[in-house]
Structure formats: C-alpha cells, structure tokens
Amino acid sequence: MSTTTKNEVLLQADRLTRRFGGLVANQDISVTLERQMIHVLLGPNGAGKSTCINMLSGDLPPSEGRIHYLGKDITALTAAQRSQVGIGRSYQRTNIFPQFTVLENVRLAAQSRRQQPWSLFTKAMEQKWALDKARACIEEAGLGKRVDWVSGVLSHGEQRQLEIAMVLSTDAQVLLLDEPLAGMGSEESASMVEVLKRLRQTRGILLVEHDMDAVFAVADMITVMVNGQLLECGPPAQIKASVAVQQAYLGTEDSFHV
C-alpha cells in the first residue's frame, strides 16, 4: 500500500487515555485514519477496543488526549456534533429502529443532514432528497432487495448492512464500525467484506473486529491493543510477523494461520 501514505489524514487521535475510577481502560492510544484506508483495531476481549471507538465517536469523553478531524480539534464535540461534521458509527450490538422499514431507518438517518424541525406540515415521506439518498445508500450497502421490509425481521447480517446504510446516508467520511462482522455466517461475512472494500474507495474506515480472516482480507493498517495499551501498529504483514503480537495476543490460540 504505497499510495496510502499520500492520502489525506481524516482522523487523528493522540495519546487517548480513559480511566474508569482506578481502572485504566485505554492508555496513550494514538490512531491515525487516512482516506481510502481500512484501519483495524485488533485485540483480545477486554483490550479496550470498544472504549477507544467510543472515544472517537464521542460516546465517551477521553480522560486525556486530543482527537482531530481534518486538522480540527473535535475532542469536546458530542456524538451528535461529530456526526454532523462527518464521523459516523455503527454499534457492536445491532442498533436500528426495528419497527421501521429499511427505507425509513435510512431516510431518518438522511434527514439528520437537513433538519427542519419547524416545518411541521411537510410530510417526511414526501421529502424526495432524503428518500433518494436513502435508496442510494441502501443500494450501496447491498440491501437493495430489502428496501420495504420491516427492519426487525431482517437477518442479523442484513441488519448490520442496514446500520452501514444509515451511517452512509449521513455523508460520513469516517466510518467507525464496531464488529460489523460479528455473528455473521461465512457467506454474509464475505459479502460484508465486499461492501467494506467498496466503501473504502471514497472514505476512511476504522473497525473493531475479531474475525481474523476478514481482518487480513480488508485491513490496510492494523493496531493491536492489549490491556488498554497499544502494542503494535503497522500494515498486516508487519503484524503477522510480529513476535510481540503473537506472544501477547495470539500465543494461546492457533487462529493465526492466515
């Protein structure tokens, strides 16, 4: 990936630390995300990956450290404000509006870009721009056949795709995806990997993931965390070859036979 070095830096986190009482969940974690790049946060359970992504999305304020988006300091912004500047996220546990249709889920997400709370007499379903955008994003996330389904009845994998469609419709340049492949079958997983690769072309993606095959299939950069600390950061080949990573993270398992 020689071209990635030339890419624009979208998100930069410097020495993020988060304490919960006496527990240090994240210590001095620095992460850089560039456009056209998939950056994977890897680590065993309890390594602090979710804490890290929560700080990046604004769901959790860091105890120390700064976060910059396109050069601007966004550390003090709330989750809603970060969404407005261009950082979208999906959650580990599927987080949709289950009683709405797929279209309405995504339309509501799209509507967040042009909020007109005072226009009480406009019909939301007649706002063409939001509907068009929603349809396009549903297509981009690979859910085109499910537009009118009630989202609660979709398969698990499809619901994850729906989350991605929702994030896309907010014009997010940075996608923070918390375990987008969790609980997916191999077929669903493969199609999600395709979706991620497609999305990478114009955006930056930071994802937390356990599925090793998928991680090495999509990652341009991997940051390995252990016990809230940053162990190693580098391209997949470097991580694969790293003795420290193998000892700390993979030593007990044989899942590293990619």
Binding site: Q111, Q116, F121, A124
Partner: protein, 321 residues
C-alpha cells in the same frame, strides 16, 4: 398506520358524537362535552408518552394553568374576548411547559416521572396556596368568553350547543394537526427518539431540542383542553392540577393504547364512561376501575386501539404479524 381503512369507523363515531346535542338533554351535552375535552387532553399527553417515549406524570399542570389563566384573565363583570383569552391561556401553558421542559428533559426514566410530578405539585400549590388562585375553593369564571369579532358573533359559548360543537371542532382540529405533525420530519424524529434515543444522537440529532419542542407542544395542547374545561364548567379548582388528574389522563392513554391518537380519544371515552357506570353501582368504584385497567394492561397490551386489529386477525384465522 392504515389511515384510509380506519377512516370510516372514525367518521361514524364522529357523526354519532355530533348527534348528542339533538337529544336536547343538558346533562348529556355537558358530560359528553367534558369527555371530548378530556380526549383532547389525552391526545396531548399521547404525543409525549406514546410517540416520544416521555412518560410525564405531571401533565395536569398545563391543563390547570390554562384553565386558571382564563378565569384570572377574564374581567369579573363582563365577558373577555375569546380571541384574546384563548391564545393567552394556551400560550401561558406552552411557556410553562417550555421552562419546565428545560429542566425535566435532562432526566430520564423514573427520574423524569418524578420531576414532572414535582413540578406539577409546585404548580398545584401555587394555585392552592397563593392569592392568585383563590384557595381550595378555586375561582369562578362568571362570564364565558365572547367570540365576537368587531360586533359580529359567529357563535355563542354561553349556548350549550354552540359550546359543544366548539369543543368538538377543536378536537377534530387537534387530531388532524397532530396526525399531520407526526408525519412531518419533526414527528418522525420523535418516534425515532422513542425507539432509540441514543441512536438518534449518534445520527447527529440534538434530541434535547426535539423533546423540548414536543414537551412544549404537548403542554400547549393540554392547556387548550384546560381552557375548554374552564369555559365549559365556568369554574376552576386546584384539583385540576392534582396528581390524580395527571394519573387519570395517563390511564386514558394507556387504556386507549399508547401511540395512537384515536386510541387516546377512545381511552378518554372509556375512562369517563366507566367512572360514571361504576360510580352508580358502588361508592368503591375505583376498585372496579382498577380491576379493568389491570385487565386491559394484561390482556390488551395495545389498548382499545389494538382491538380492531385483533378482531381482524381473529377473523382471518389468527395469522401472526
């Protein structure tokens, strides 16, 4: 949801209610008029409870504030202009809801329930214990507001039939207004907040503002109901703001089925009808009422609004979904 399919039963119900004044019986005209007022009140609360997911246990405050406002703003020996006291009292309720909303909407769940109740109790004591409200006896509205515009009088609220149709017209307008608002981008955000507020925030919605808008609007419409109540009966008491009233209107919404405007209206009718019927049977009518409410919650989770759907499904052979 399927607005067209259920339009006919709604119109039939409206037509039946519209025929009540033909009976010529003042008792019925007044009591049905009161139920219509409570139905407006219940719809206003349903905007919060059923559509935004905000369980307010102090909604009687806004009803009572507007009711007192008419009584206080009207001169003692002549009629006030409807076109002044109506917007003024509704506006005062909206203002109170806006200010109280600034505080209570920072809390969630059980705390929200308790703080809304606390503010309503404060409003209760303001009218109960200060010179403003006239103590526990309340206050009379000696002259009902006059609807005259530059000498022309389109209707006369001292006439019980006119009053009845005025209330009915307001009910229909409030229903149509809320139905429309719920389809607007604003309304869709409220429903999204009810479903998953955290998700709405991560999508970039400043949900506090939307909730404050809903709380203010609900307070204004609750105030509209309180205004009509005061004009209908010609007097107000602090009991209008008591927590019993907040509880009663909540029960109407639950009985009717939360998140359904027609359900809120049906809930108000069912509640008031049961109150009349059970009170005739026994002085322990509240026991019977409690039993019915428990039964509805257990066996009709969707409330009365869910009944047509159940019948339809039963007729179609019990198909799920």
């Amino acid at each position: 949801m399927n607005a067209n399919a259920s339009l006919i039963p709604k119109l039939v119900a409206l037509a039946i209610v519209a025929c009540v004044p033909l009976s010529g019986e003042s008792f019925y005209i007044e009591i049905v008029g009161k139920v219509l007022v409570m139905a407006i009140f219940a719809m206003s609360l349903d905007l919060l409870v059923g559509f935004t997911g905000l369980v307010s246990f102090g909604h009687a405050a806004y009803f009572g504030i507007a009711a007192y406002a008419v009584a206080i703003l009207s001169p003692e020996y002549e009629a006030a202009s409807l076109w002044y006291v109506l917007p003024a009292s509704v506006g005062l309720s909206a203002l109170a809801a806006f200010v109280i909303g600034l505080f209570v909407l920072r809390t969630k769940g059980i705390y929200f329930i308790m703080v809304t109740l606390a503010f309503a109790q404060m409003a209760y004591f303001i009218f109960h214990d200060t010179p403003l409200g006239g103590g526990s006896d309340g206050k009379y509205l000696n002259n009902k507001p006059s609807a005259s515009i530059f000498g022309w009088e389109p209707f006369d609220l001292t006439n019980e039939v006119h009053m009845f149709y005025f209330i009915l017209a307001v009910l229909v307008l409030v229903y149509l207004f809320l139905a429309r608002v719920l389809q607007s981008p604003f309304g869709r955000v409220l429903v999204g907040i009810k479903s998953n507020e955290h998700r709405m925030q991560s999508l970039g919605y400043l949900t506090f503002r939307y909730k404050l808008g809903a709380f203010t609007l609900a307070g204004a419409l609750g105030g509209l109901a309180g205004f009509l109540y005061a004009v209908l009966f010609g007097f107000v008491t602090p009991e209008l703001l008591s927590w019993h009233e907040s509880g009663n209107v909540l029960l109407m919404v639950i009985l009717g089925g939360m998140g359904n405007l027609a359900g809120a209206i049906a809930g108000a009718f069912a509640f008031e009808a049961m109150r009349e019927i059970f009170a005739d049977i026994t002085k322990y009518w509240q026991l019977l009422m409690g039993g019915v409410i428990v039964a509805v919650v257990l066996f009709l989770p969707g409330g009365l609004a869910g009944v047509p759907g159940r019948i339809k499904r039963a007729l179609q052979g019990g198909e799920a979904k």
